[in-house]
Amino acid sequence: MTAPPEVAAVTVPASSPRVRAARGRLARPVPPLVTFAVFLGLWYLVSDVVLDTDRRFLLPPPDRVVTVAFLDPVNRAPLLRGLALSAAIAAIGFVIAALIGVALGTAMSQARWVERSLYPYAVLLQCVPTLALVPVIGFWFDFGFASRVIVTVIVALFPVISATLFGLQSADRGQHDLFTLHGAGRLTRLVKLQFPAAMPALLTGLQVSATLAVVGSVVGDFFFKQGAPGIGVLIDLYRARLQTERLLGAALLACLLGVAAFGLFGLAIRLVTGGWYGSSLDRPR
C-alpha cells in the first residue's frame, strides 16, 4: 500500500497581520490592568504595613472597603439610594446643560455681537467657585432637588458652549464657498454643513460635560448638606463619623458613575463619527 498523499499543512505564520491584530486586541487591556495591580499593591502596603492597627481607619485595605460598603446590605442600601439620586441629578442637569449650551453656542456662531456679549460671561460662570454659588442658590431655590440640578447645570454648561461654538466654526472656507455659490441660507448651511462638521468637537464637549455633571451633582450635594441625601451628603456624613470604608465606597460609586457617562459618550462618538472622522486619527504612535 502506498502512503496517503501528504496533505500540505497550511499554517498561518506567527507574524501574519491577522494574528498580530488578534494579539493586539488581547494585549490591549494589559497595561491598565498592570497599573491597577500596582495601585492595589501600594494601597495594601500603606494599609497593612505603613499604618499600625490604631491608625488603619485612615486607609482601610481594599477588601475591607468592598466588604463593609458593598457587601453589608445595611450599609449598601443608603449608598445605592444616594447613587440613584445623584445619578438622576447628574442626568437631568446634563440634559439641561446640553440643551442650553448647544442653543447658546449656536446663537453665538450666528452673530459676532451675540458671541461678544455672551461668551465672556460663560467664561466667568465657569470660573466662579461652586462653593461660592451654593449658598445663594440655596437661598433662592431652597436646598432641594432643583438647587442641586442648577449647580450641576452651571458646572457642566461651559464645555458644551465652547465645543458647539468651536465645532460650528470648523467647516472650511471652500465648503462654505460652495454653499454660498449655490444659494444656501443660514438654516441649510447650519443643518447640512456646520452641524455635521461640528459633531466630533460637539460630542467630545458633551463627553467632558457629562463627567463634569457627575462631579457637579456630588459637589453640590456635599455643600447643600440638607434634603434627601445623595452621594455628596453621604460622603460628608461618613467623614464626620470616621467611617472610612463607606466614605471610600461612596467615592468609588461616584467615580464609576462618571466613568459610565464617559464610556457612553465614547461609544456615541464612535457610532456617529467613526466612519469618517476617527479613521484619519488612526496614525501610529
Partner: protein
C-alpha cells in the same frame, strides 16, 4: 471684464486692471506664477468676491466652480456628496438620483458611490468634486488648479477626460493653472498673468482642434506654443503688452 481690480482691506492689490473676455464655447486658461491673483480672478468671476475697481458682466445662472481642494464633505458618501449641489438648488429627489447616476458613470466613480471620501485616492476625490459640479449641467465652468495636487500621470489622465468632456458638451470653461503644458493641452486660448498685482500680460491662442489625443503633447507645434507662453511668463510685470517674437 474691463479694468477690474481687487484691493484687499490691508491695501494689497491682488489683481489690477484686468481685461478679459471669454466667449461662449471657449476654453480659456489663465496661467501665472503662484500668488499672482489667479484664484482671486475666479472668485470675482463666480461672484464670491466683488471687484473694487472696474466693471464685469458674467452669465452666472448656470455656474460650476471646482476648487483647488476637492472640498468634499467627509461625513457624506460619494453619492451624497455628488448630490449636494443639486440638493441645495432644490432639484427633486428622483431627478437628482438620475443625474447623480449619470455623472458618476461619466467620471468613472459608479463603483464607489457608497464610499466615504477618506477611502478614495486624490484623483478619485477630484473626480467626485468634478461630478458634483457636473450634476447641475453648468454652462460656465470655473476650475481653480483642480489637478495641482495630483501626480503627473493622474493629472494627464484627468486632462484627457476634461478635454473629452469639453468636446462632448456645450461648455464654456475658465481654467486656472501654473502648468504651461496643462494650459496648452486643454485650452483654445491662454492668458498669461504677471506676478502680484496680477495683470494680463499676454495672450496666446492654441491652434489645435478638439478632440485632442494624448499624443498631442509630443507634437513639435505643442512645444512651440508652450515655449511662447513660457517666454511671456518670464516678461517682467512692468513690460506690459508686447508679445516677444
Amino acid at each position: 471684464m474691463s479694468g477690474v481690480g481687487r484691493t484687499f482691506a490691508d491695501g494689497t492689490a491682488a489683481v489690477a486692471g484686468l481685461d478679459l473676455r471669454v466667449r461662449r464655447g471657449e476654453f480659456v486658461t489663465v496661467v501665472g506664477p503662484s500668488g499672482c491673483g489667479k484664484s482671486t480672478l475666479l472668485r470675482l468671476v463666480s461672484g464670491l468676491d466683488a471687484p473694487t475697481d472696474g466693471t464685469m458682466r458674467v452669465a452666472r445662472d448656470r455656474l460650476g466652480y471646482v476648487f483647488q481642494d476637492p472640498t468634499l464633505l467627509p461625513w457624506r458618501s460619494v453619492r451624497r456628496n455628488v448630490e449636494l449641489l443639486a440638493e441645495l438648488e432644490g432639484v427633486p429627489r428622483a431627478e437628482r438620483r438620475r443625474r447623480v447616476d449619470r455623472v458618476l458613470e461619466l467620471v468613472g466613480l459608479d463603483g464607489f458611490a457608497a464610499a466615504r471620501p477618506a477611502a478614495l485616492s486624490g484623483g478619485m476625490r477630484m473626480r467626485a468634486s468634478l461630478a458634483r459640479s457636473l450634476v447641475l449641467d453648468p454652462e460656465l465652468f470655473l476650475l481653480d488648479e483642480p489637478f495641482g495636487a495630483l501626480d503627473e500621470l493622474t493629472r494627464e489622465r484627468m486632462n484627457d477626460e476634461l478635454v473629452a468632456l469639453f468636446t462632448d458638451r456645450a461648455l464654456t470653461v475658465l481654467f486656472v493653472t501654473h502648468s504651461v503644458a496643462e494650459a496648452v493641452f486643454l485650452s483654445s486660448r491662454v492668458m498669461v498673468m504677471s506676478p502680484r498685482p496680477g495683470r494680463i500680460v499676454g495672450e496666446v491662442s492654441v491652434p489645435f482642434p478638439y478632440p485632442r489625443p494624448p499624443s498631442l503633447r509630443f507634437e513639435p507645434e505643442f512645444g512651440r506654443v508652450a515655449a511662447r507662453i513660457s517666454a511671456l511668463l518670464r516678461v517682467p510685470a512692468r513690460a506690459g503688452w508686447e508679445i516677444p517674437a
